[in-house]
């Protein structure tokens, strides 16, 4: 069975929500103002999208907010590959956010090459989306342009729609209401105050997922008036947002007499920075537990003061750590041709183990690679550095490539 219609009667958003609870595979052939599009839905999740010149996620965001798109739904299709992975809720929420904030990506004006008739026309100036909604003329113009330019001659979607609209719109409309209520009930989206989904650790684990990684942050300073000589650890539930900022939520447990430590822990956590959690290659906000240890105000730096790399100016006097054993990491995205070289700094302890490792210059988009490098170099063994013949903890730098 192939359904077809136009989003003025049934929005794409509602259509996707209906399919959200359907285990089958669907192909939505689309035709909108920005060109032909395609949405693939498998097991209730949107797994691929194309719209005009827009790829994947951007296409999906724009498609569900477009006013007038012709669509045709085919069921039980083969889905060869997956480029995105959204639940209906996620897609709609994110698309709505981008729409509201005006950051939806739109394709560049299409270079028209369909024939002499068409190429002589110029595309009308594109109204801004909220103006478009207000102005029926603009919308109609856009729609008309879209139909004229992009309707496939062999499948006249617009005629099919006129015949079948009323027939299927009614049961589908009922299904939309039921599906929406069901989805809202299941996810609790509409009852919770947050309008964006916060993932949990258990949601991650796929090949393109990454856990949040602490970039900076250390023990908190014990409250000055604490009379106890016991330095507790406060386990906090924290939210790490897309940018890696930390929002302390609440201590996981309350213990008598530790409220001063709890607020000190919350203060310290606010200064922490993380590499955000990644889900399907996209940074997502996450809630995790994080323990905060304490040091006394007067305590010196917890690690022995290491010799900095800059110290080694005279190679005759001292010796840098030399790598004894260590394997290059495997690429975290084996399918990708990217094989970046990552510069990192490691602190080699007197036993030759890596006590600390950090990325010299963290780059956006390389988090997975950087994490793989850090995981790898932490297993490396070195001959420790020497200063005046004595073995000392030493910082050194490494450039790591991928296998």
């Amino acid at each position: 069975m192939a359904l077809s219609g136009n989003t003025r009667e049934l929005s794409l958003a509602d259509l996707i929500l209906v399919k959200a609870h359907d285990p089958g595979s669907y192909r939505l052939r689309l035709s909108g103002p920005a060109g032909d599009g395609l949405l693939l839905i498998r097991g209730g999740r949107v797994v691929h999208a194309v719209y005009g010149e827009l790829p994947a996620a951007d296409a999906a965001y724009l498609l569900v907010t477009e006013e007038a798109v012709d669509f045709k739904v085919e069921a039980d299709v083969d889905i060869p590959a997956q480029t995105v992975n959204f639940s209906a809720q996620e897609l709609l929420m994110e698309a709505m956010r981008r729409f509201d904030e005006g950051i939806l990506k739109r394709p560049k004006p299409i270079a028209v090459s369909m024939g002499t008739v068409v190429s002589s026309r110029r595309e009308p100036p594109r109204p801004r989306s909220h103006e478009a909604r207000k102005s029926p003329e603009a919308a109609a113009l856009r729609r008309a342009t879209g139909h004229f330019l992009f309707a496939e001659p062999e499948t006249p979607i617009s005629t099919m729609r006129r015949r079948s609209t009323l027939l299927w719109a009614l049961p589908l409309g009922v299904a939309v209401v039921v599906g929406t209520v069901f989805a809202a009930f299941r996810t609790g989206t509409f009852s919770s105050t947050s309008h964006r989904e916060v993932v949990r650790l258990s949601d991650l684990g796929g090949p393109r997922d990454a856990l949040p990684v602490l970039l900076s942050g250390g023990p908190a300073i014990a409250p000055a008036d604490a009379d106890s000589t016991v330095h507790p650890t406060i386990l906090y539930r924290i939210r790490v947002d897309r940018e890696g900022n930390v929002y302390p939520q609440r201590p996981r447990e309350t213990r008598e007499g530790l409220s001063a430590f709890e607020s000190a822990a919350a203060e310290a956590l606010k200064a922490y920075r993380f590499a955000p959690a990644i889900r399907e290659g996209v940074p997502v906000p996450i809630e995790i537990n994080w323990p905060v240890d304490f040091v006394r105000r007067s305590e010196p730096s917890p690690t022995p003061v290491p010799v900095d790399e800059d110290f080694f100016t005279d190679p005759l006097l001292d010796k840098k750590p030399t790598l004894l054993q260590g394997e290059l990491p495997e690429s975290p995205l084996p399918g990708s041709p990217r094989r970046p070289r990552i510069d990192c700094r490691v602190l080699v302890d007197p036993q030759g183990n890596v006590a600390e490792a950090s990325i010299a210059e963290p780059r956006a988009g390389y988090e997975l690679y950087e994490k793989a490098v850090l995981d790898a170099v932490r297993t490396y063994r070195f001959e420790p550095g020497r200063r005046e013949g004595q073995i000392v903890p030493t910082w050194t730098s490494l450039t790591v490539e991928f296998r």
Binding site: R200, L214, H231, L374
Partner: protein, 385 residues
Amino acid sequence: MRPVAAAVILSAILSPVEARERISVRGPADVLDRFAGLADALARWHPDLEVAWTPYEQGVSFAPLFDGSADLLISTRAIEPWEQTLAARLSLEIHEHIAALDALSVVVHPDNRIEDLSLEQIETLFSGKIRGWYGFGGSDHPVRLLAPPPSSGEYQALRRITPGSGFRLPPSVEIVPASAAVLLAVAADPRAVGLVSMSLDRSRVRTMPLRAATPAAPIVPSVDAVEAGAYPWSRALRLYSRGNADESLQRFVACLLSSEGQKEVAKAGFVAVTADRPFRRTLPARERSRDASITRVSFAPGLDLLDRQGRDILTGLAARVAEVWITGHADREEDRSGDRGLSERRARAVEEFLEPLGVAVAGTEGVGAESGDLRGADVWWISRR
């Protein structure tokens, strides 16, 4: 698991005692059993560290940590206020780290028909106020409580269901210190109920879903539910070390808290604190070494009079020591009322004996049965080096 742990302990006992090369780890037997894999991994990562894992059969005691005979304590309970006071009196810096999360599982026989229980009902159950399962709508069987020993993490968890409620086990309750024994007994007896860690194999018993309050949804302990804080009765597995931790112990703890160590912790059935925690948690620095020592004096049941042996011990002590701190104890029977009166009188009896001998008593405290059924008084002192 147990033969491995036993072998480790045996080798630790037989090997010659070295001054600071060896790390002595103590903890509840159940937890150390689960940590056999972690112990192997740590031995692989740091072959130069010699680690002795020594279990407690009953609960957790902080005494070995305070007197320096243990370098690291793995504990299923948080340090109690009276132990914090003692640490402060002895000027011992104690550092706490959270190594993992765990959940207390309420286990019953598979035939037990009760669907779920609330935390409040658990408290009522273990305080002995419910004699038969019909009290919760179950069978006509009487309830057989398999209670945890005082000073165990399970006991502390029971007392913390309603903080300050003065929870007490019924006087003649059956105390089963080992979780393995609890699981065996519960699997064989439809009347029995016990508390075990979620890390243990519970396939032959039924784990009771718990509700935080009566209208809340019942939840079965699982890794996800504990991580997200949905399961109402979770606890932390803590590490305690002293401020004067040497470099090898610091390395050991850092390794245990690292992402690799946490993987092993998760394999052992616990919930990693955060799934990925690189070698980032900087540990506190070494502090000047200061060792407290403990001398224990016993009393006859119900009495606060020093016997001859006790007087001899204290006389010998007075010749060596200038200042002490005294903690009095009582066992559960003696301290049935919970007023700590007998333990306080015992501490004062020791004080009255020591003061005329020229020993300055910095303070006394009676802690009732909280230290785990000791019938005596501890005299704590700082060795002068």
